[in-house]
Symmetry: none
Subunit: 224 residues, 4 copies
DNA sequence: TATGAATGAGGCTTCATTCAT
DNA sequence: CATGAATGAAGCCTCATTCAT
């Protein structure tokens, strides 16, 4: 998925030129490396130097494109949120029966967070930062408002057709799904270390995926 | 709840005097200040200088008692884990009916994590660190093994008397309780910012406390 | 003889300007200042800050070019050894009669060590360090292997033509020359202080230069 | 040789007392440990803390007995010089024939410096210090003046009876003996490292001991 | 456009030393 | 006499960033 696709293309490039001259590609490469770095070390633990070293382009370009470390982090944060919300919109849940729709949303969230540890770690890091970068980004907030609408529609349909006997606010349901899926990844290391249970393993993942879906669906279906 | 308990004790001491020859108290004060600092900024964002400034004693004492920043962090980590596991052991759940016992454990976890944001943030930070400090501390691992035993006994009793129709591994149940209670605090800032729902408020907290308990107990009671 | 050679060159440069984009020159200046500092105070007594202050460039550049204090010291050590061994190779002793060749080598060593107190002090310092930096440097060892070959050739010729009646290992001869020339400089201060004899003075130096040459040549010439 | 001789003596000591109360013994122990430390690391590399740790008594006692690091170093320096000059006075060379007397003095110096690396290293260190401590100590200067008298008497007798055909100043002869014996120890590490010749080995030591004696005696005996 | 060189501010830590008991 | 606790000053080094070409 990561952009090395068209290597060697661009015939308009002089053979003796020092570097490729594709600004957007350079930008994307920096962004990709930075995401890894921020995900691995958080904002204050991340090193601009390390990002520079791992990028084909020079460190100076980071400042050229993103202004400073904070600007780069903000760009990564927006990028990462755009990823999940973009994926969510492809789900087409409105045509499924409520229980199935909700199950699919839960599964999707589970799979996405499991597959995108970077996303999880950057949001953890953002919470450590006091969410001060998120607060600056109108774009991220816009991106996220859609999930609640999706959930709201499923809940409404489920309540209407009697599949769900429990009345829940969309934000509360999203909270539970998110908590259970996110924590598995965000706290994987301490949890595994302490309880000797590898949350990343196939076995535990499969078990937890089922358990989480059943827990939440069970909550919606049973009123007491 | 955070340690201001014995401030101002020791009346025989001149208030402005610099030298306090009370090693344990000095140690504890550093630990308390450090916990705040590490909780607020994570390991790499924390500043030894800031901890020194906010301590009545000199910065130098940090190194005297804890060796270095890492040693101090490790001490904080152990302290913080000892706190929750110590509190858990006072619950006396073995005499309660299984459902009530489990409900109480869930409520306790909810309340504890809500009241101890430091604990939550330090564990988040530890996950950002790759759990490398936790890995060094046998003490923390020992402390934590007890929770699973407590949960195991409740589950066994509930299965035996028919209160619980679902068979769950203790570690999986602990995972769910922990995830739901922890995420509320660890991700409070981004969640609130994005969804405009203040997870720290009394109203939402009360609602979630009930919801979490019902969700988990519901899962245990209903087999499908 | 110490490196002020090219000071004030580069007339096209504004005298008060801070940024000099001449990396090799910057590197050399740091090296020169560092040699003085390490020679004067040894490794542990030397202060990186002092080196920084005495350099036109910023202290930060020390780390830019040499990594850390140890790296800088190692560079100085290599530089200093390269100096003497480089000079030795210009002697062209193979065309002289053995006695004269040996005399010239002794004189050279005497003069070089007298003129390069830095060299002597840094090697003293290295011995105080347990030779731990030298051990890391393959380069220094390579540089030094040549002297023994030079001495070996002179000894062989002298034995062959009967000038030398004593059979000596090259390393032992080098030891004596080095000891007598080195000690004069390395122990100058304590020796002068205790015996009231200024080893650095012209008078004593001239006398010792003759004495050392005669002592060693005498040893080679007389068998008993 | 180092003072633990009378352990457990002193019956007047209360059994419950925290530590032995023998000031002179405490002083000597500190001195002994400090000598090792200064010999190993030089003045600036030596650590008061390390001396404190390796002494049965507490670090505070160092300051009690010696004032500060400099005072302790000075005491060590005097102690170390007193050692060699004290030994030299037991030689009784005046009754031996000049050549034998001189040979014995050379051998003594060789053996003493070989056996007392601490002595050598502390004097090296003192030279790195600019001999500033030595300069403060009248006592050390007094101690050392005697060697030259001893040498002077041997030389006079040798010149008188024709054993020595060379006229040498006592200080110059002392210089040569000292240089050859001292350098072997002071520069042992760099020399061995570079030339792969272990100066501390029995084999090389025996060879050098003979060589040094013959070199110097040869110089005295042969006029050209 | 792109880059190596340069940098001030501030980070963590160690040092010899003194205080209070 | 003896000791653990406490300390200011200064050490080495890293950080994000900007300059000059």
């Amino acid at each position: 998925m990561d952009g090395e696709a068209s290597a060697g293309v661009r015939p308009d490039q002089a053979p003796g030129s020092r570097r490729r001259l594709d600004p957007e590609r350079t930008r994307q490469e920096i962004l990709r490396v930075a995401r890894k770095e921020f995900a691995e070390h958080g904002f204050s633990g991340a090193r601009v130097d390390r990002i520079g070293e791992r990028t084909a382009t020079a460190k100076r370009m980071i400042y050229y494109y993103f202004g400073n470390k904070e600007g780069l982090y903000l760009a990564v944060l927006e990028d990462v949120y755009a990823g999940i919300r973009g994926s969510e919109t492809t789900l087409e849940l409105d045509d499924l029966p409520p229980i199935e729709a909700m199950g699919r949303l839960i599964d999707f969230t589970f799979d996405y967070e499991r597959a995108n540890e970077d996303f999880v770690r950057i949001i953890s890091s953002e919470n450590m930062n006091g969410a001060r970068f998120l607060r600056r980004s109108q774009r991220v907030r816009d991106l996220n408002s859609k999930v609640l609408e999706v959930i709201g529609r499923i809940l409404a349909r489920g309540t209407a057709d009697g599949s769900f006997r429990r009345s829940v606010a969309p934000v509360d349901l999203h909270f539970m799904v998110s908590a259970l899926c996110f924590y598995r990844v965000s706290n994987r290391l301490t949890f595994s270390e302490i309880f000797g249970c590898d949350l990343a393993s196939e076995e535990v993942s499969a078990r937890h995926k089922r358990m989480i879906r059943e827990t939440i669906l069970g909550y919606l279906r049973h009123a007491d």
